[in-house]
């Protein structure tokens, strides 16, 4: 687990990875490209993550592969279609599940959790696209707002980013329906990145995600939290309104200072424990921090699962 608020010394974020700067970019694809390019530059061509174009091997063409990657020279000689693989490339699928419930609209700074989640999802899609992974996305809240099954066809990145871009933070959070739908439509094993603030019971999360793991999907949970959610600072008793349910509750500053952070930490721990229980990776992200932490975590996760 990557602890919130700490910066990895090995990969200092570049300016372009800062969420505040990214929010000034209106084009999500540009954001993703900026993030990934900046991130890749920071990697110093690390062989570990295989982003060089060094040839490794051929493998037979299978349905879903981009035909552009077929080595036609080999085909002319052998009459068989082979895909040319480079170091660092795999043949995996990445499914991005983005929570767009109303709570994701919260943001104490310039960037809301939803925006941050969009940046993250788009960056992961771009990164995966560079590595020729099939990418798909599911935007959900109570209902499934957008669903695009994973594919490596050309234009997928654009359609995925477009689906992410138009997502808005509305309604509540229900994991059961999107994950059931996901199981019904995505049979192929692959990587599943769930981006959410996980304002749900850990038991419900486990109940929804566990079947994916059981079916061989590699799941990584990106838990987004705003700094204002971790330790809210109030001077007077304040009437808080739940963005999803509309319910209001009046809380005292003493409670918010003393008890509330502990409850949030306990919730994080419970989510993390649930993730462990279903063999999923868990990454807690502070939305005020650059995205490189998330990309590092993803690549580690990908490397581990490939």
């Amino acid at each position: 687990m990557i602890e919130l608020g700490k910066t990895d010394n090995k990969s200092k974020p570049t300016r372009l990875l800062d969420p505040g700067v990214l929010s000034s970019l209106s084009n999500l694809e540009l954001v993703a490209k900026s993030v990934v390019e900046g991130f890749v530059l920071g990697l110093h061509r690390s062989p570990k993550y295989g982003f060089s174009q060094e040839f490794v091997e051929y493998r037979p063409y299978t349905e879903g592969d981009d035909p552009r990657h077929i080595d036609w020279n080999v085909y002319s000689r052998t009459d068989k279609t082979f895909i040319k693989l480079f170091k660092g490339e795999t043949n995996s699928h990445l499914m991005l599940l983005l929570d767009t419930s109303a709570s994701m609209g919260f943001g104490s700074g310039n960037t809301s959790k939803l925006q941050y989640g969009k940046y993250l999802a788009a960056s992961l899609a771009y990164l995966s696209s560079r590595q020729h992974d099939a990418i798909g996305t599911m935007v959900f809240n109570n209902e499934i707002v957008e669903f695009r099954p994973p594919t490596s066809r050309s234009g997928t990145l654009h359609s995925v980013i477009h689906a992410l871009d138009k997502a808005e933070a509305v309604q509540g959070t229900s994991l059961e329906k999107p994950f059931t739908r996901f199981r019904e439509h995505v049979k192929k094993r692959g990587l599943v990145a769930v981006i959410s603030d996980f304002y749900c019971r850990p038991e419900d999360l486990q109940e929804s995600v566990q079947p994916l793991s059981s079916h061989g999907q590699d799941v990584i949970l990106f838990h987004l939290l705003d700094p204002g959610e971790m330790s809210p600072q109030i001077k007077e008793s304040t009437l808080y309104e739940d963005m999803e349910t509309g319910e209001a509750i009046e809380v005292s500053p003493v409670f918010m200072k003393q008890d509330y952070p502990d409850r949030v930490k306990a919730h994080i721990a419970a989510i993390q424990k649930a993730a462990q229980g279903m063999n999923a990776d868990y990454v807690l992200l502070d939305t005020s921090q650059p995205l490189d932490r998330a990309l590092h975590a993803y690549l580690t996760f990908r490397e581990k699962r490939s």
């Binding site: 919260f106 705003d226 808080y240 409670f255």
Partner: protein, 674 residues
Amino acid sequence: MSLLSPLFLLGLLGIALPIWLHRLQTHATEREKFSSIMFMEQSQQRIHIRRKLKYLLLMALRILFLLMLVLAFTRPVFFVAPQGLVSENTTHHVIVMDTSFSMREGNSFEQAQTEAEAILAAMAPDDIASLYIASGSVETINPATADPAVIRASLGNLEPDVGRLDFGAMIASLDTLIESSQANFVIHFISDYQQSAQAVRFADMIPDVINGRPVNLEIHQVKIDDVPNWSLASIDVTGLREIRVGVVNNSEDAQSAEKSFTLSVNELEQQTVTQTVSAPAGGIAYITIDNVQFEDGDNRLDISMSPNDSLADDDRRHGVFDNSPPAPVILLSADPDSLAITYISTALETAPRGYEVELQNISDFDPRILQRYPWIIIDDIGAVNDILAQELRAYVDGGGAILALTGERSANQQTVPVGGQNISGGLGFSRNTTYSVQRVNSSHPALDRSVGWNNLNISRVVPVEAGENDNVLISLTNDVPFLLEQTIGLGRFLLLNTQLDNIWSDLPVKPLFVGFMAEAARHLSNEEQLVREQVVNSFLQLGQNGGASGQVYDPEGNRLLSLADTTQAQNILLNETGFYRISTLGGDVLVAVNPDPRESNLTLMEAQALQNWQNMVATSAGAVTVVDGEAVSVVDEEPVALEVWRVLLVLLAVIVLSESLLGNRYLRFNTGSS
């Protein structure tokens, strides 16, 4: 200011201000959106409710502040009935002291005071007492109190006045004063019980009983000296230098006594006459004082009789004699030898005021002397030429007055000179026709004392047509005005449509003629007619005609009217003996005030009559049925007026302080939350 006063109701609208302001400022408690409240816990303090309560409390304080402020301006008074004085066994001793003129006799009043002391000394511990004085009116000296010392202190300051007591009026007044009383009360009436004070109807002396509480009348009669009481009843000027004084024997037997009478004129003692006076019971004897020296104008006459009897205050009398010279009045005539001149001159010279008629031929008249005379008479207005008519109109316009008659010269005119009334051609009379009076405005000052107009026989009139500005005072059967008045500027023009020669009408030979001329003269000369001798507690009516009443000075020389009151009609209560002086622009007028002669009659009520009175009061009380027992618990004392504006001021201060503290706290709260 009443609570229904428009100003009060207008002030109440101010309450809308804080309501309006709070309506603007009151908003729902601001909510702060948060991603999820699933980890939050309800604060024990409901801040938004508390905040709302603060708002309401602040608004209530501000409304209360305005309400108190407006209420304070109304100076509200609460009447609080003092508690604890009355119990079921309480007796309320209503002590009524007779302070009328007759109580000046001997030591009557000292006896009355001693009697009152005895009543107070005999009071039971639970009893209460109140003190009233009765004379020309009944006044409350002490409302009900359980402390006899309070009443005892008041008793020492009382003394008899010069008024007249009437038992019926006294009981009626007491009924009003003790109307709210529901205790067992006893009326202790301490008096000499003059027979003359007895009410005409005996029933008027029985007090009403309120709420069935028992009423008792205790008779406390003071003893008077059994000596004849002589009193001075009248002063009349019977000749140029002669005064006649009436002396009344108020005893029940014929009496004869040697008395000395000292006359003072204008506070200067002139002479003393000693004479034996004899008069039957209740009879009057006259003595004459000659060679009295009068001054011009009003003379103050004081007669005192000695030796004094036990009621010495009625041995002196005041009178006024008007020794003003006859007022000059011009009689303009075209025919100085006519019979009308004789009638007019005679009537005016014999009027009470006395007028000196200066006859002038109208053709030789110099109008420049008009200003010397307050009014003039013209025996035929038709003889006035245009030039003189203009002068006369200017004279009237400046405040003068004219009594004009018509005559044969008037019948030849188109209009009445000076007055301007149209004459519809020719002499409107016939020797064979007799007119009579159809309508008389008897409310007019010139006509209010004369009667018999309907008996006039009028054979000739000039067909005068009344104009818009004319006030027809007497009209004839053919609607021709017989007497009309026109106001011109500051003066009056009075037109009598006849000739006073006993040919045109028989008015000059009717009894009402002299009276009418006197009243007309008084009216035209703006003279008030005052009764120059009055009794105590009568009213002096001033300015009855709407004119200024003038300033009035009482016998001690004190002004009785404010400057504003001097311009209005007034009724002045004459409650002191002596000379009242009415000072007007026309000069000073004196009015002499003497005690009511009935107070000098010391004949007392019969013992049996007193007993009957007492019994009737008791019977009347017993005949009333008690409706319910609730009346017993009602308090019995004059309600105490409690002015609450001071309390309101204290409340205002508290409210302002509270509002400031709360408002300050609220402001601090806002600052903190922002």
